[in-house]
Structures are given as structure tokens and as C-alpha cells.
């Protein structure tokens, strides 16, 4: 699997992501500066977390206009894999690669804590090493993670099975208490119709080694490597 990580000014989780990708694939991912436009030959493009452009105007709004994102859009249109985590998810919605938007957390507080995610389907390249219904722990750290879309869009996402992760209790119940940031229908992660573009707010890359306190996130990367090993 050849992976690249897009780096914008203000991004700060690209190294965590690189560790997770290298651990799973055995290869160092390519770091792609936001002014680059040639990303040919890569299987997976990751937009990592952080605070691109200081979250000016809206989270992800500036990054969505940068030169590299035209190349990422073309990569997605070719059927390439794109993973956006946290700010990366915000950037994918601002770019229009995923529907909806991420609003300020309903409680207005910046949240930095662990959450539990329920895997809604295991037949994607991102979730094939999990079981459907399985719950795993993932750290989250964001001020704007409250997923919003109009009811028609939410119904379509659910109807087409494009909700991939939901905030849940450790037992897998979808409750209001488990929905830390107030997201519509507890949505933590969604995919594009081809299931190759995925965005989620929590950080599976930060639980991939026992030294980090757990390996709950590692199956996501192992599954990707298995799917994209050519």
C-alpha cells in the first residue's frame, strides 16, 4: 500500500498518522505539502488532524481551497482511497467529497478524551478487520465535531449504509450520553457511496501500539493494508 499524508500549515497529527501507517504497512508514507499537485501512484491519501490555517473562517474551509485538494478530488474521482480524520474529515466535507458539515460541539467545550465507536458495517476496506457491531475505543480531540446534515441527507446516508461509525457506550448502545459532541444520529464517521472516501472525527491512529495505551485503532490500518496490498 502506497500512502501519502497531506500536510497543511497548522496540521499537527501527521506524525501520529505516519506512525500508524508505517506500523501497518512497513513503509513510510509520503508527506505531501499542500502546494504539491502530483500525487500519482498513491493508493491512499490521508488528510490528518490538526488546525489547518488556524481554523480561520470555518474549520477546513481554507484547506479545501488549496492546490493539493484538486489533486485529491481527482484521486477520489478515479476511485482512489481517501481517509480524513478530525480536521481531515472537516476538510473533506468542505471540499464536498463527503456530505454535511461539522458544527461547534453542542456543549461548546473543546473535548479531549476517549470515546467508543460502534462499527456499523465491516464490509469496507477500512473496517474489514473489525466485526459489524463491534465497539472500539478511540481518542478524540476537537471543538467542532458535531456532525450536521439535513434530514434528507441523513436518511440517504443511513439508507445507503454510508454511516460507518457511531458514538456508542462501551457496550455498543447508541445513547445521548455517548454522543459527546451532539452529532446528528450519533454519527462519528461516514463514507462516500463507493466506500473508498471515509471521514471520522476520532483518532484511530492514536491507539495502534500498546505503548499508546491500546491497539483498538490498529485493525483499521491493518484492514486497509490488506485491502490495498497490490
Amino acid at each position: 500500500m502506497k500512502a501519502g499524508i497531506v500536510v497543511f500549515p497548522g496540521i499537527n497529527r501527521e506524525r501520529d498518522m505516519a506512525i500508524a501507517l508505517e506500523l501497518a504497512s512497513g513503509h513510510k508514507p509520503r508527506m505531501i505539502w499542500h502546494k504539491e499537485t502530483d500525487i500519482a501512484g498513491l493508493d491512499l491519501i490521508v488528510i490528518p488532524g490538526g488546525f489547518s490555517y488556524g481554523d480561520y473562517l470555518r474549520c477546513g474551509a481554507m484547506a479545501a481551497q488549496s492546490p493539493v485538494m484538486a489533486a485529491v478530488r481527482a484521486h477520489a474521482a478515479r476511485g482512489g482511497h481517501v481517509l480524513g480524520v478530525c480536521n481531515g474529515f472537516q476538510i473533506l466535507t468542505e471540499t464536498g467529497l463527503l456530505p454535511g458539515a461539522l458544527l461547534r460541539n453542542a456543549g461548546l467545550r473543546f473535548l479531549s478524551m476517549d470515546c467508543h465507536l460502534r462499527v456499523e458495517r465491516a464490509d469496507t476496506d477500512y473496517t474489514r478487520h473489525y466485526q459489524a457491531g463491534q465497539v472500539f475505543r478511540a481518542p478524540l480531540a476537537h471543538g467542532d465535531g458535531n456532525y450536521f446534515a439535513d434530514d434528507d441527507t441523513l436518511d440517504r446516508l443511513e439508507g445507503e449504509g454510508l454511516v460507518i461509525f457511531r458514538y456508542a457506550t462501551p457496550e455498543g448502545a447508541i445513547t445521548r450520553e455517548a454522543n459527546l459532541n451532539g452529532s446528528a444520529r450519533n454519527i462519528a464517521g461516514i463514507a462516500a457511496p463507493n466506500l473508498r472516501v471515509l471521514g471520522l472525527m476520532p483518532h484511530p491512529e492514536d491507539l495502534v501500539d500498546p505503548l499508546m495505551g491500546g491497539t483498538d485503532g490498529k485493525p483499521l490500518f491493518d484492514g486497509l493494508v490488506a485491502a490495498l496490498a497490490a
Binding site: L57, R58, A61, Q65, T93, E94, P99, G100, A101, L103, R104, N105, A106, G107, L108, N146, F148, A149, D150, G182
Partner: protein, 80 residues
């Protein structure tokens, strides 16, 4: 040169927790007659376009492409 002001607000029906918090704070200060509070952004643009109608159309294009996210926000353009 024309000056355009773009006002961006969260759409009705989109939760505005900042507006709510401001409302709570105003109540705390004793301003009891305050109902719903909503917060938005004001963006002032200096445009080289001299024709007011064309300047408005330009600012609206900018709002749709960048200044507002029309999934969650509505905007209003005023040209001075």
C-alpha cells in the same frame, strides 16, 4: 471601488450553541427580556468593480464558493 458587506448566519434550524451561550450570559447579567440570540459573521470586502449590481453578483459568488458553507449557513450581501 465598491464596498460589499457579507453577513453569514447559521441557517434557521441549525443549532447555534454560541448564540445560546450569549443568551444565557445576558440573562445572567439581568437582561431578562432577551429571547433567542443568534451569532454570525460580518465580512467586509473592498471590490475594484465600480458597478453596484456587478459588485453584488461578485460578492454573492464569493459567498457561495468560500465565505459561507451553504450546507449550514445562509448569507446576505449589502453593497454600499
Amino acid at each position: 471601488m465598491t464596498k460589499a458587506v457579507v453577513t453569514v448566519m447559521l441557517k434557521q434550524g441549525v443549532l447555534d450553541p454560541q448564540g445560546k451561550a450569549i443568551g444565557h450570559a445576558l440573562h445572567g447579567l439581568g437582561f431578562e427580556g432577551v429571547g433567542e440570540v443568534r451569532m454570525g459573521k460580518r465580512i467586509e470586502l473592498e471590490l475594484a468593480e465600480a458597478d453596484p449590481a456587478k459588485a453584488r453578483a461578485l460578492a454573492e459568488d464569493m459567498a457561495r464558493k468560500l465565505l459561507a458553507n451553504t450546507v449550514i449557513e445562509s448569507f446576505k450581501v449589502e453593497v454600499a
